[in-house]
């Protein structure tokens, strides 16, 4: 773009090269900030169809991963990677509560079968009753994705400035700036961002469909989700929606349901892409309370400086010593 202006003049040889070389240094005026956008992934609605995985791959033109058979569940994708930005987990909980089928704390829908037989009509299920064949075995599904943390460790670590916060307050890797140093990969507490070892050797992760957002569209995964387990919207509004949904689930007896990343506890500011879980976070491979890596810089530096000063001082004493 900077070159367009030059075209009116005779272009010296090497100008193009020079322009390419200094292009990464050019600072463009930032776009006007928009309200923060994010995902609310409600795992209580997920049916494990993997439409999000497919939609994400299609829209972002990500190559298919070589098929592997995990042998543990229907989850053969197994992890988020440089070329998989949505990943559906399957958690099979057989024999929970030590194999006992403990129904939720609700009246059972019982003794109606006999009534039905004699009446010839099936009575309607009154609200807030548990069915008599209640089974506590269950199958949890979750569509995992980049958390777009409010204080993103990958963004804080990035030494080139390739990882930025967009005008939508999402975390985005500028592919033309990244040089594949790999520091972001070890700082992400969720194992999201990864380097594409078979492709361009650069760091990749969910962009929250930055290109679609620019055009006023919702991200591909949210668009494709048939049960609205993945909801896209303004973070503040989504958080309110998540709290309401949690209230409803608690009311219906799902006392283990919880929100993950909605409050500001995780990484000193919460997540812009957060979850409603039906069980402990560890079951979903989510660390309960990960620490913000950049918080370690100050104490680690302090110990380093103290040690260096001690050794330096003693060195001075040793070298000054006259026999």
């Amino acid at each position: 773009m900077a070159l367009n202006r030059l075209h009116n003049f005779p272009v010296l040889p090497g100008t193009q090269r020079l322009a390419d070389l200094i292009a990464p240094l050019r600072k463009e005026p930032p776009p006007t900030p928009q309200p923060a956008q994010g995902f609310f992934t409600d795992t209580s609605l997920c049916i494990g169809c993997k439409a999000c995985e497919v939609a994400c791959k299609q829209w972002n033109q990500l190559p298919a991963t070589a098929p592997t058979w995990s042998g543990s569940s229907y989850d053969n994708t197994q992890q988020l990677s440089a070329t998989t930005w949505r990943h559906v987990q399957f958690i099979e909980q057989i024999g929970r509560n030590g194999g006992r089928n403990v129904p939720p704390n609700l009246p059972l829908f019982e003794d109606r079968i006999e009534t039905a037989k004699s009446n010839g009509t099936i009575p309607a299920t009154p609200p807030r009753t548990a069915l008599p064949f209640f089974n506590s075995d269950r199958w949890l599904m979750q569509s995992d994705v980049c958390k777009h943390c409010a204080h993103a460790p990958c963004q804080e670590a990035c030494p080139t400035g390739a990882i930025i916060r967009t005008e939508f307050d999402t975390v985005y890797v500028q592919q033309d700036i990244c040089n594949g140093c790999g520091y972001c990969i070890v700082t992400c507490p969720f194992g999201v961002i990864a380097r594409d070892e078979h492709g361009d050797h650069l760091a990749h992760k969910c962009t929250l469909c930055y290109d679609r957002l620019k055009d006023g569209l919702e991200p591909a995964c949210a668009k494709a989700c048939p049960t609205d387990s993945i909801v896209f919207g303004e973070v503040a509004q989504l958080k309110e929606q998540a709290r309401q949904r949690l209230g409803t689930l608690h009311e219906r007896g799902l006392s283990e349901a919880r929100l993950y990343g909605v409050d500001e506890a995780i990484l000193d500011g919460g997540l812009n892409s957060f979850f409603l879980l039906l069980d402990e976070p560890e079951l979903y491979n989510l660390p309960r309370n990960p620490q913000r890596p950049s918080n370690n810089v100050a104490p680690a530096s302090l110990w380093t400086i103290v040690t260096a000063m001690l050794l330096g001082l003693m060195g001075i004493i040793y070298f000054r010593a006259r026999e």
Partner: protein, 351 residues
């Protein structure tokens, strides 16, 4: 070794209990670092470059006339160790041709950005200081340029460059501590370990060279005292690190599959730290009694200005250098195992 691991970390594996912990099919939570030999050697050589500069500067600013040999050797070795560093770092990048992008920004929050800038600034100091040294040693000939260089204030540069050297020697540990890898980030002492190792390996390298070319016994004694103390501090810091890391340190000290305890205890903590420290202690104690005898001799009119060569000090130096290398190697490889262990990452994530 298992007992050592339990004793130092204060953690004994309890498979029955840990099997009860919730996980997702034991899949890794974190992505493993792909840093390999380039980074291990960069950490090692960067430490040497930093440590040699600091020791040379201390000898130049505070040492006696005889200690100038430390200054000279230190500055040359610092530059030599520094030369391969940028190449190693660039080779490690996914896209090496984009290494200049590191210099787009100056980011206090990113340890790697700060490291790049410190490496760049320190290279300037190390290069200029070593060139002045070469000019003063007559290596650059006798033309006016060499004379001008020799007249530059080397001591002032040493004073300004030393903080950058310390930064280079320690930031690597801070960089690893500011990650989500349990082994690296649980305890916050990795920077302190790396900086003391930078001093101990550098003192070992300088005294190794001096013992080959020959140096005044008094000067060697000063160097070895410094090496002895750095080893002691390193040992203390490592023990604090292991205790503070607890279960997260298993990848480093344990002897199970994917754990690096055998290498760590044999070549780092045992052979590369405790053994050379003990030998150094014996040597220093021995010299003290020897020195007393010599002083008696001096009274009798025998002057002792002879240069010392060889000796067990050479072996000590080699052991310390080996320990310094294996410290970096086991830390990097242990970090990889640590981030692949889903249970440890979830345990670490509980805060």
């Amino acid at each position: 070794m298992e007992q050592l691991a339990s004793l130092t970390t204060g953690y004994t594996p309890d498979p029955a209990k840990e099997q009860q912990e919730l996980t997702y099919y034991d899949y890794p939570v974190l992505k493993a670092p792909f840093w390999r030999w380039e980074i291990i050697w960069y950490f090692f050589l960067g430490g040497l470059a930093a440590g040699c500069y600091v020791i040379a500067s201390i000898a130049s600013l505070f040492g006696s006339k005889e200690d100038r040999i430390v200054t000279r050797t230190g500055y040359y070795l610092s530059l030599l160790a520094l030369l391969p560093c940028p190449a190693l770092l660039i080779k490690d990048l996914g896209r090496p041709e984009r290494f200049l992008n590191m210099l787009r920004i100056f980011k206090l929050k990113s340890a790697m950005s700060m490291g790049v800038w410190s490496l760049l600034s320190f290279s300037l100091f190390s290069g200029v200081t070593a060139t002045i040294q070469a000019a003063r040693d007559g290596l650059l000939g006798k033309w006016w340029g060499a004379k001008l260089l020799a007249a530059l204030p080397q001591k002032l540069l040493a004073l300004l460059g030393s903080p950058f050297a310390v930064f280079l020697g320690g930031y690597t540990g801070v960089l690893l501590a500011a990650t989500s890898v349990p082994l690296w980030s649980r305890s916050k002492h990795l920077g302190a370990i790396f900086v003391s190792s930078a001093i101990s390996t550098s003192a070992a390298l300088i005294s190794f060279v001096l013992r080959i070319v020959g140096a005044p016994a008094k000067t060697l004694h000063k160097l070895e005292q410094m090496e002895w103390l750095a080893l002691l501090v390193e040992m203390g810091e490592l023990l604090i690190f292991l205790r503070g890391s607890g279960r997260a340190a298993r990848a480093l000290v344990g002897t199970g599959p994917n754990e690096h305890g055998y290498t760590f205890w044999r070549f780092m903590f045992g052979g590369g730290l405790v053994l050379p420290w003990l030998l150094q202690t014996l040597l220093l104690l021995g010299r003290r009694s020897h020195g007393a005898k010599r002083r008696l001799k001096q009274k009798d009119g025998v002057k002792s200005t002879q240069r010392q060569r060889g000796g067990i000090g050479l072996l000590i130096s080699l052991l310390v250098l080996m320990g310094g290398y294996f410290l970096r190697r086991t830390m990097i490889e242990g970090g990889r195992s640590s981030s692949r262990d889903g249970r440890v990452a979830l345990w670490h994530g509980r805060g």
